[in-house]
């Protein structure tokens, strides 16, 4: 509704500078929900923290993992969150009560797990040195289907030697990144040999395979529409591809084409890319850089670099673009802080003084004919009231609102209690942040504690000693 009043559409549609830094423990991975009002972050200690972007505060904490969180995925409705960790398991959380809805264990650390775009009871996982799985948790016992990484060969029945050789080759093929297509009926998988496989989610067979890059595919992303695909690989090149509509009824697997659109690279510095993200519309591509603290933003239409975001002097890891705003969140690798880049518009002073208008240059004022006529007060009042004959609608909402999910995150008051390893720290007026014991700024507090302790014998009680 604020869009009715703001000129924000005039603002540029990619982030400009750091606007916030939030921190809870050491975050390694972040993900926005579909509406864009919550941000999930996964920590090194396995805790998943849900941030409310409106208050920039913690909305929920989910404890269940004990190892580094490797990937997060929200359900469409925003009620379920799938988190996968390096501790060989994935948990599907119900955010209504903050409890584990499902827990699935694997035989290897998880590279990435993604929920089906429409069905929160189905997800795919890419595992370390294991074949990827499609997991169906509709029933109390989960059903796992092994997904292929190499297409079936047709003519190997009679040649044992060849078959063995191929089997050996096949065993070296690993799926390293896996996502669903926009419709959810196909799975896109990237392998360590730089191949892209398209797997039919129903038959679980590879219907298309193509070598798209020369290194290990590390990240696969789709734009919101699902028509563009972003691939990061270890060959230091970020590629974008056009993806045809895989859900089309007349899809012919033999004629699928995934044409390359752009290659983004830094040929001068020969940089590698830690993580990549599409902007909300797919118009921009953002990437965090390896051994370098800048974020790169390219415009996809022309394939040109539009911006290098400077932030804290720290290498950034996972990077995420807000689903509809010009807002980027990235995790600092060293400190584990979540840095948020955004755009801010200046306060328009004319909004504060309605009698004034902002003009670009001097304007000659032309007085209206009746502007300074003097009328009796009653007449003015009557005229005013008579002019109010417009039909108004105070109930109609206009376009139907997108409240399909109807899920509302409960408001919790006991976050402090559930948070024994952290504390609130006052920074200045009205600003408060949470801090972990491992924080480097702890020196100050340690000092205070020390002071309190030394006064203890004299003053009797550290508490009172600190009160001053």
């Amino acid at each position: 509704m604020n869009l009715l009043l703001s000129d924000d559409y005039l603002l540029q549609d990619y982030p400009e500078h750091i606007t916030n830094t939030i921190r809870s423990g050491h975050s390694t991975c972040v993900r926005f929900n579909r509406k864009g009002d919550y941000l999930a972050s996964g920590r090194v200690d396995g805790t998943v923290v849900i941030w409310d972007l409106e208050t920039m505060g913690v909305a929920r904490k989910l404890r269940g993992h004990s190892k580094n969180i490797s990937s997060l995925s929200w359900s469409r409705c925003g009620r379920y969150l799938l988190s996968a960790c390096q501790g060989w398991k994935a948990i599907l959380w119900d955010l209504q009560d903050g409890k584990r809805y499902r827990e699935v264990r694997f035989r290897a650390p998880v590279y990435g797990a993604e929920l089906h775009p429409w069905n929160p009871h189905e997800f795919v996982v890419a595992l370390f040195e294991e074949q990827p799985l499609l997991v169906d948790v509709t029933n109390p016992t989960d059903v796992r289907h092994v997904l292929p990484t190499v297409p079936k060969r047709t003519n190997t029945e009679n040649d044992v030697a060849l078959r063995e050789k191929q089997a050996k080759e096949d065993a070296r093929n690993m799926t390293t990144a896996i996502i669903y297509s926009a419709g959810g009926d196909h799975i896109l998988a990237g392998t360590n040999k730089g191949r892209l496989n398209i797997i039919d989610a129903k038959t679980r067979e590879i219907i298309y395979t193509e070598k798209i890059c020369s290194g290990i595919v590390t990240t696969l992303r789709l734009s919101e529409s699902g028509k563009e695909m972003l691939v990061n690989s270890q060959d230091r090149i970020i590629r974008t591809f056009h993806v045809p509509n895989l859900s089309a009824p007349d899809l012919d697997p033999d004629t699928i084409q995934i044409p390359l659109e752009h290659k983004f690279q830094d040929v001068v510095n020969r940089l590698s890319w830690n993580h990549v993200a599409f902007s909300s519309s797919g118009e921009y591509v953002a990437a965090s850089t390896y051994n370098n603290h800048e974020l790169y933003i390219w415009e996809r239409g022309h394939g040109s670099l539009v911006r290098m975001l400077e932030g804290p002097k720290e290498e950034q890891g996972v990077i995420e673009w807000h689903p509809h705003k010009a807002l980027l969140a990235a995790c600092g690798l060293e400190t584990g802080r979540i840095n948020i880049w955004s755009v801010t518009s200046p306060q328009k002073w004319s909004a504060l003084a309605p009698d004034f208008a902002e003009v670009e240059e001097n304007v000659e004022y032309i007085e209206k004919e009746d502007e300074f006529d003097i009328h009796p007060q009653e007449e003015i009042q009557k005229r005013r009231l008579d002019a109010e004959d417009e039909a108004v609608d105070v109930l109609g909402v206009g376009e139907p609102v997108d409240d399909t999910d109807g899920f509302r995150m409960p408001i919790l008051f006991n976050l402090g209690e559930s948070d024994s390893e952290e504390e609130f720290v006052n920074v200045s007026l009205g600003t408060l942040r949470r801090k972990s014991p491992g924080d480097q700024d702890d020196a100050e507090e340690a000092l205070a504690d020390e002071r309190a302790a030394t006064r203890k014998p004299a003053g009797g009680g550290g508490r009172r000693g600190r009160k001053k």
Partner: protein
């Protein structure tokens, strides 16, 4: 803290609000307490005791499970509806990180939530710990509103500022230097992106919740003080209660007054009202909706006045609903509640057409006997009606009203 013995308010009631689910009524009174009532039976549920001075404002959290109250002790308190205890439990140990914090022992002692000296001193920092109040305003807290998600609380105060609070952490998020006079009213739009505030300086300002910037200022030519503001149900208009006996509906995008409602009396007190919606049998010609909107307001002569939104005509006037000033009217579905200087809360229920009109049915309390000169086309009546004998019902109601 449950004070079931004397459930009634002992002083004037400044605000009364129906919970979003329509099941409860909350009232804030100058006697320093807020009370929760069952909307269907009128039974007193709980008293919220903790403020050290009169309570001026009360707001329901959108889930109807929590409340916020603000009072002349400069504090805002969050409450749990079920337990009637302060809602926050930001760890007793959480205070340790704050320099100069008062000890946890003292906080426990404060159990009931009474404000203490130490806490006042910390107020300016906009923080709190334990089950303490939200402190930060330098003067009386005068109006409160929850965001539709319940994660943000907006407060307006006599210190002329609007504060936005992070409800979860009890932390001051943003302080808006809003007005040049006490902030008298505040409301969130239905999507939570806008906050409207008004003041006796005559201005209505529309704020962007996310950036804290002022997006629009509305001011009438005559500059009458504004005592209350609320958004229309669809969020496209704001209703401003002016102290020149007018209620004006603004189109805040165009910046113009669309409707002026007159006929009530408002020249000296901060009175309030709200939009109401009634299901109708005939469809609206324009929208095809089976509902029509009305504006309900309190009046300083003790009346409750209702206008048709479009025609600006008074559709109903409930005369002498209160002795002295009627301060606040809130509407939810078929229920209308009012409160006033006399310390009573009146509950009215819409009588659907076809229902028998029982003259006794509109009987409220003994003290109003003989003052029921309600209009023939009356839409609402006192809640006492239905299968049970009026006598029993009346006794219940009297109890509620008399104390």
């Amino acid at each position: 803290m449950r004070a079931s013995k004397f459930p009634g308010h002992t002083a004037a009631i400044s605000q009364v609000r129906i919970s979003p689910d329509g099941r409860w009524i909350a009232s804030a009174s100058a006697d320093g307490t807020a009370k929760i009532w069952d909307a269907s039976t009128g039974e007193h549920m709980d008293s919220l005791v903790g403020h050290m001075a009169g309570v001026s404002c009360i707001a329901w959290a959108p889930d109807s499970e929590g409340l916020a109250t603000g009072g002349d002790d400069k504090a805002i308190r969050l409450w749990d509806r079920v337990t009637a205890s302060p809602a926050h439990a930001v760890g007793e140990g959480a205070g340790r990180g704050e320099e100069g914090g008062y000890g946890s022992v003292r906080r426990v002692k404060a159990g009931g939530g009474f404000l203490q000296k130490g806490a006042v001193g910390k107020g300016a920092r906009g923080t709190r710990s334990g089950r303490g109040p939200l402190l930060g305003h330098h003067n009386y807290v005068y109006c409160l509103a929850f965001s539709p998600k319940g994660n943000i609380l907006a407060s307006g105060s006599y210190d002329e500022a609007v504060f936005l609070w992070d409800v979860r952490a009890g932390r001051l998020m943003r302080s808006l230097p809003a007005h040049s006079d006490p902030v008298s009213g505040i409301d969130f739009s239905r999507d939570g992106t806008l906050v409207a505030s008004c003041s006796t300086d005559g201005l209505i300002r529309i704020w962007d919740t996310s950036t804290g910037q002022c997006l629009r200022t509305l001011v009438h030519e005559d500059n009458p003080p504004v005592t209350n503001v609320c958004f229309s149900p669809n969020g496209r208009f704001v209703l401003a209660f002016n102290m020149d006996n007018c209620i004006r509906m603004w189109d805040y995008v165009a910046g113009s007054v669309k409707k002026t409602y007159q006929g009530h009396k408002n020249s000296g007190y901060s009175i309030g009202g709200s939009f109401g919606k009634l299901e109708t049998d005939d469809e609206d010609a324009v929208s095809g909706r089976r509902a029509e909107a009305f504006v309900a307001s309190a009046s300083e002569d003790g009346d409750i006045v209702m206008w048709d939104v479009k025609s600006k005509e008074i559709v109903q006037r409930i005369q002498h609903a209160h002795k002295g000033v009627c301060f606040w009217v809130d509407v939810h579905g078929d229920i209308l509640v009012s409160c006033g200087q006399d310390g009573f809360i009146n509950v009215f229920r819409h009588r659907r057409e076809g229902h028998d009109k029982v003259p006794n049915g509109i009987d409220g309390g003994v003290d109003h006997e003989g003052n029921h000169s309600m209009n023939a086309d009356e839409e609402l009546q006192r809640q006492i009606e239905g299968e049970t004998t009026p006598q029993v019902k009346r006794e219940e109601f009297e109890e509620e009203e008399q104390l």
